[in-house]
């Protein structure tokens, strides 16, 4: 009985820590992105709120919370209200299966540094990232605005297309690790991270994930110069904030997934595992921001060509080659 209660308490503490940590990182990531983009464009970025602009996220949150929550005439009330929550919550839920440190022993009880070690963790990740499409498509549709609708349709088409190469690029990883669990995948990378063995797979995953989280050069669903703001054009206040938050949480989650699947998770010499994990996540996030500062947006047909004619065949070839190597050489 005591053990059961302790388990529940430990679970809730872990949940709270991960949730708060993720939200804090996402919040300050907004600032980090704005600052870095500024430096990439030889300007300072926000530096007025607090020392070095470190309180800017607070100012943003206060602004978003105090803004009027508008709803367009003819909007589908229920869908309009719930779409942002879908985006934000699916992004947050993915992190539940991500291991972020070595198992920890407290008074003879082992505490795994992961919220839930699912044996189908990878499928859980893919399923939730597919669910995220609903938030985008329904939010765009429910707004009763042409720009939102166009953005939502683009979002749905793009995310479904790239889902395919995203899933296919992870098949070799599963072959090498022999498990769907993210904990086992991390453990399989103890000798060497999978990016060394699977550079092609890493490349496909990274590009597809860029499209999946709708970032430049794949930000067609919110292309501001064509569609105002795409699927969240009609949103304001904290509902827009939820879309925004979801986007940045997805960035962190993507960093975490790249770290777990290809960069060896929390493994690393000298420094403690959590530090290594954070370092790898932030490295990926930096590359995302760097990409945003460098590349222009693709055209819609180019986007579809890259996805269907290049990434999907490449991923299939990669699976065949990996399978052959694993079969003949042995894992």
């Amino acid at each position: 009985m005591l053990g059961w209660t302790a388990g529940i308490i430990i679970l809730f503490v872990k949940l709270a820590l991960v949730l708060v940590g993720l939200l804090l990182v996402a919040g300050w990531l907004v600032l980090a992105e704005r600052k870095l983009l500024g430096r990439f464009q030889i300007r300072y970025g926000p530096n007025r709120a607090g020392p070095f602009g470190l309180l800017q996220p607070m100012a943003d949150i206060i602004k978003l919370l105090t803004k009027e929550d508008l709803m367009p005439d003819g909007a589908d009330r229920l869908l309009f209200l719930y779409a942002p929550a879908v985006v934000a919550s699916t992004a947050l839920l993915i992190f539940a299966v991500v291991p972020f440190g070595r198992d920890w022993t407290l008074q003879g009880r082992t505490i795994p540094m992961v919220v839930a070690d699912l044996n189908v963790g990878l499928l859980f990740v893919l399923a939730l990232s597919s669910l995220g499409v609903y938030g985008v498509a329904l939010g765009g549709w429910a707004s009763n605005s042409k720009y939102s609708l166009l953005g939502g349709i683009r979002g749905a088409a793009q995310m479904i297309s790239y889902e395919l190469s995203l899933g296919l690029s992870l098949v070799p990883v599963v072959m090498l690790a022999g498990s769907f669990s993210l904990v086992d995948i991390t453990r399989a990378q103890t000798p060497m991270p999978f990016i060394v063995l699977q550079p092609v797979s890493f490349f496909i995953f990274f590009v597809s994930a860029l499209a999946e989280i709708k970032r430049i050069p794949f930000d067609l669903p919110e292309a501001e110069n064509e569609l105002v703001a795409g699927y969240h054009t009609e949103y304001s206040g904290m509902r827009f904030g939820l879309f925004f938050l979801g986007e940045y949480v997805t960035m962190v989650v993507l960093g975490a997934l790249v770290a777990v699947f290809f960069l060896g998770g929390w493994h690393g010499p000298l420094l403690p595992p959590l530090i290594w994990f954070l370092f790898k996540v932030l490295l990926v996030v930096f590359v995302l921001i760097w990409t945003r500062a460098t590349l222009p947006r693709l055209r819609y047909d180019q986007l579809m060509n890259v996805g269907w004619k290049f990434l999907v065949p490449l991923a299939l070839v990669n699976i065949v080659v990996t399978g052959a190597v694993v079969l003949f050489v042995g894992a």
Partner: protein, 184 residues
């Protein structure tokens, strides 16, 4: 076989293009930002920068404004209003003079229209207020105790107008020619 080398070549080209782009942005990350931080650093203004309006005085310390309404008439946004009055010695002045800076577009037409150089634009541009009504300036807010851009100019002296007694004379005015001096 030719197709393969072409594919390889274009692939390398793509990589080179992407790589050089990423290298350029990465180099910029370490450059010093060129932003001028405004309240700490104020860029020197051009000599003829136009901002907040003042009413100047002539060298004798009298108000230059003669309430001719020209500035008010020329103002494209109608932000200047006044009431003309006459002093006991016959000199005209504005009983009240009001500029609505919330409406003013700082075009400088009032300054060009002014025959007495009374109304002038200064380079003091930081006029933001939280309450819009505080932007309505009355005469006591506008009047300064110097001559602005031309310290020496005195309209009444150049116009040759005297307030009382006989007809006065203009500065540098030639004496009237005696037409009959040719007859003698």
């Amino acid at each position: 076989m030719g197709d393969h080398t072409n594919l390889l070549k274009s692939g390398l080209q793509i990589l080179k293009g992407l790589g050089s782009g990423f290298a350029v942005t990465f180099r910029h990350l370490f450059r010093k930002p060129i932003t001028e931080q405004y309240p700490e650093f104020k860029r020197p203004l051009p000599a003829r920068a136009r901002a907040r309006i003042i009413l100047t005085r002539d060298p004798d310390g009298e108000e230059r404004c003669v309430a001719c309404y020209l500035c008010s008439a020329v103002c494209p946004v109608s932000c200047i209003s006044m009431q003309a009055a006459e002093r006991e010695d016959g000199r005209r002045w504005a009983a009240w003079f009001r500029i609505n800076f919330a409406r003013c577009i700082y075009c400088g037409l009032c300054e060009e229209a002014c025959p007495t150089l009374a109304i002038q634009l200064t380079s003091d541009f930081e006029t933001c207020q939280y309450d819009i009504l505080t932007l309505v300036a009355e005469k006591e807010n506008l009047l300064v105790d110097h001559g602005g851009k031309d310290k020496q100019y005195n309209y009444y002296r150049y116009a040759g107008v005297t307030m009382e007694g006989t007809k006065g004379s203009h500065v540098n005015e030639a004496q009237p020619v005696n037409l009959k001096s040719n007859l003698s």
